[in-house]
Symmetry: C2
Subunit: 333 residues, 2 copies
């Protein structure tokens, strides 16, 4: 592989000049620039990004930590981040935390040790204090889908409380009052906020929150099955089921049908996130849209603006969920 040195001798200029045309920041006369580019072309020269990084103290890479690499939610998020960053020639180093504290911390250490210029985190298990402390380090840290007040400028988050509220409100306005709720793991802030919104809606309509119609699921399909099974066994009647995400809703739908429910007639179900597959459940899932792809783009823009000093970028830190009405919710009789 040709080096900058060979280019410089072939072009008959100095190392520094070649470096200047590569980074075209400083002024170089058109003539010498031409000589250099010709030499680069002739030698098929490619800058060594590692050497560039060592000399400039910049790697042009941003680290991403997600809970899982699979799953529709993270897929959309990563796609948003990567496509935005790629346009600016930055690359992403992706690792996983599996929603476990140790593994999340380990992943963060890993990314930092890799000299990422910034890291974007979707962490669920580590606590706020840890994150606040982390932000004091040398590597800029950004949070996806999580709001920590002390570092709010570094957060791109969804108003999950509002989403939870909207879901429940829409159910209530269809005339339901016996409402079961399958929450996400309560150590996850998303899940907690969605539940809070649910409770606010109940309160607003003077519907008491029932412990027997509450179940904490795992945000996966199994959580939906388990939750619904739990409610059925409790023998307390309900006409609507709210799931804190679409995976659990689809699990619940599957289980409900196995138990002989006619859907949506005998049970209305609503989800949260609007993953692609929610259009293909039967009945088609009514849900809350979570613009996670957009949020991914925005997190990337935040990095571009703060870390790479790009101009004319406007940041929206908070996103709003919206109700997507499909077929899985009908009026209570």
């Amino acid at each position: 592989m040709a080096t900058i040195y060979e280019v410089s001798t072939l072009a008959g200029v100095s190392l520094a000049t070649v470096s200047r045309v590569i980074n075209n920041n400083s002024r170089v006369s058109d003539k010498t620039r031409q000589k250099v580019t010709d030499a680069m072309a002739e030698l098929d020269y490619r800058p060594n990004s590692i050497a560039q990084s060592l000399a400039s103290n910049r790697t042009n890479s941003v680290g991403i930590l997600v809970s899982e690499l699979h799953g529709p939610f993270f897929g959309q998020m990563m796609a948003g981040i990567e496509s935005e960053l790629r346009l600016s020639g930055k690359h992403v180093i992706i690792t996983t935390g599996h929603s476990e504290e140790e593994r999340e911390k380990d992943g963060i250490e890993f990314l930092i040790s890799r000299n990422c210029d910034a890291i974007i985190l979707h962490v669920e298990a580590v606590n706020d204090e840890y994150l606040i402390e982390l932000c004091k380090g040398n590597t800029p840290v950004y949070l996806m889908s999580r709001y920590v007040a002390a570092i709010s400028e570094n957060c791109i988050s969804l108003n999950n409380e509002l989403g939870g509220y909207l879901a429940t409100k829409s159910i209530i306005e269809q005339g339901h009052s016996a409402i079961a709720y399958i929450a996400g793991p309560q150590f996850k802030s998303d899940a907690k906020c969605r539940l809070a919104g649910h409770k606010r809606a109940l309160t607003e309509y003077n519907i008491p929150f029932s412990d027997t119609l509450y179940f904490e699921g795992d945000f996966k399909e199994t959580g939906g099955c388990d939750g619904l099974e739990h409610f059925i066994n409790s023998n307390k009647p309900f006409t609507a089921l709210i799931c804190a995400n679409d995976e659990m809703a689809s699990g619940a739908i599957t289980y409900a049908r196995e138990q002989g429910f006619s859907l949506p007639d005998e049970l209305s179900i609503i989800g949260f996130d609007n993953i692609i597959f929610s259009q293909h459940t039967y009945p088609k899932l009514t849900t809350i849209d979570n613009p996670v792809n957009l949020m991914g783009h925005m997190a990337a823009k935040l990095v571009l603006k703060n870390t790479y000093k790009q101009k004319n970028i406007n940041i929206t830190h908070s996103f709003e969920p919206t109700l997507i009405t499909r077929d899985s919710v009908i009026s209570a009789v």
Copy 2:
């Protein structure tokens, strides 16, 4: 950040010795080793991975190119690769090709320019010649889910032809003979092989292949809708529908129900890939299992063995699909 130099002075040894204990390859006396590790601890020293890379000509990173970051198929694949590599302290740089030739080539260039120690590709648009040529370069190249004979040692692939055969055979053995087929884009080798398997099964049972019951879809949900719509409009009767992947199958299921079909009574449907969501369609999708997560692990192992010279690794280059029987296929009347 402390450097190796500071560690050496604090420990009272030379640079070289510190480097030796970091990489613990060469022998160092226990005493000096202890002094060095103590000094490292005291200074909270972390090796600079960029400098290591420049000096050693190894980045400990492997590039991955997938068509899309979202989607259940790629998610499972990436998860397999990443988790395997992460165990050995290697990291993944992920980029996308969107099944378009130019973008795939661009992504490959990008990964190579990043000095990846190896790259794992899931490419669909570039041709075999390009890949063969690529393998002659300095960066080792591995292919996921694609078989190119000339570089078969670098391929981890599924026997898609067999999968296509199994799907069709299982349908035929349920007594169906009027069978519609929605293929994937025929420039993708997976799609082509699955179709070939389909045709082999038809031939074996003396069922003629019908052009009017063939449709080339896009491997997405829409492909399933469009294909089924096409068949319905053609007015040629059919009792079973084979889709070349699960996304199209779920799209077809949704569309079929919208058109008033009673499933699976009036139409049997089978998919391919066994994505997680295939358990949650209604009826639950009968499909062909594609062990893509396992294949991801294997691709990573191949890199570990060839590029990182790890011992005792056994490689399986070819994987076999299997039939997963659920509820979407029933006997023809």
